[in-house]
Symmetry: C2
Subunit: 166 residues, 2 copies
DNA sequence: GCCACATTATTCGAATTCGAAGCATGTAAG
DNA sequence: CTTACATGCTTCGAATTCGAATAATGTGGC
């Protein structure tokens, strides 16, 4: 396991592993609560809350980007949410290609019904284990990481826009 | 959105959102690299590295717990890894029910081949955006969260075998 | 105006995931 | 020993996920 390449600092790796494992556990708990309490998945909850905090409507692309999801996956979920009467989809006025997704009253009601329990889960699983200072610090750190990654395009999937001998 | 329940501190929520979003992005990047470079998923990579650092072999349950995965999901992945010749499965000597999973030389070779690139991705996506101090702090914080959640059983799914109306 | 290319969303098929049910083995109580 | 339950893993079906291909609309250069 120890070879000639630039060996990583064990401390760095430990941080990475702890980060991934903790978030994995947290996701499971959150998912479980939302499923039993509101009969929705975390993705669906994310879509609804994003719509709610965005004054009611967003396009599919805006949603997919925010939720860090594939377009096709979002199409599927939007279909389910629409069938359930929690959102509506309508063609966008400005751009004929876009779809405007709007949260319904029923959707808002569901969010409001589930939110307290959701927050309670977060409190018990995450917030309670940290001091205010640590929590504050965690927020700052992860915001930096998030911004850093948003700014940095993936290595190989970089769009081949670079001049191909024009 | 603002009602009568114990409203969460916006700062707390911001930390949670940043945490989830950043990890989501990170997972995508890592997954993408492993797929293109080694033709394996992150789960499979996790299984292999866990085996490698555990002196070669573990039981299915130990693996599933460590990887935060469903048993059935692990069975599926183990099947793929075995077909690919990266691990072997054999009945455990002590416990006739258990399966001992062992990493093969080919499995170790794959890990060693992919590891440098993997670490490079982590460096570029995660480590580079943080000071040593922040990284250290992040590790400590997430370790605390992880331990806290491991210690705390999920709220509703806790008791499994409650007798059904005797 | 017209042509090439970018952008938006969906459909499709394949792969992965989970939970419940099933099977076999281990263990404790009587 | 025998019954009752616990544990370890797999099988099965349903749901979810992604990426590639597709269709439709927008935009820029000429």
């Amino acid at each position: 396991m120890s070879e000639d390449f630039q060996a990583p600092d064990p401390q760095q790796l430990a941080a990475f592993f702890a980060l991934m494992e903790a978030v994995s556990l947290l996701q499971h708990r959150v998912e479980q609560h939302l499923r039993t309490d509101g009969k929705i998945s975390y993705v669906q909850f994310q879509v609804l809350t994003r719509l709610a905090s965005a004054d009611g409507q967003l396009t599919m692309t805006q949603l997919a980007d925010g939720v860090v999801y594939s377009r096709s996956g979002l199409t599927y979920q939007a279909g389910l949410l629409e069938d359930a009467g929690l959102i509506t989809r309508s063609p966008s006025p400005d751009d004929e290609r876009s779809i405007t997704v709007t949260i319904t009253d029923k959707g808002r009601a569901l969010v409001n019904r589930v939110l307290p329990g959701h927050v309670e889960v977060l409190r018990r699983q995450l917030f309670d284990s940290l001091s205010d200072d640590d929590l504050h610090r965690l927020g700052d750190i992860m915001a930096m990481v998030r911004d850093h990654m948003r700014a940095q395009p993936p290595r190989s999937a970089a769009p081949r826009k670079r001049r191909a001998t024009p």
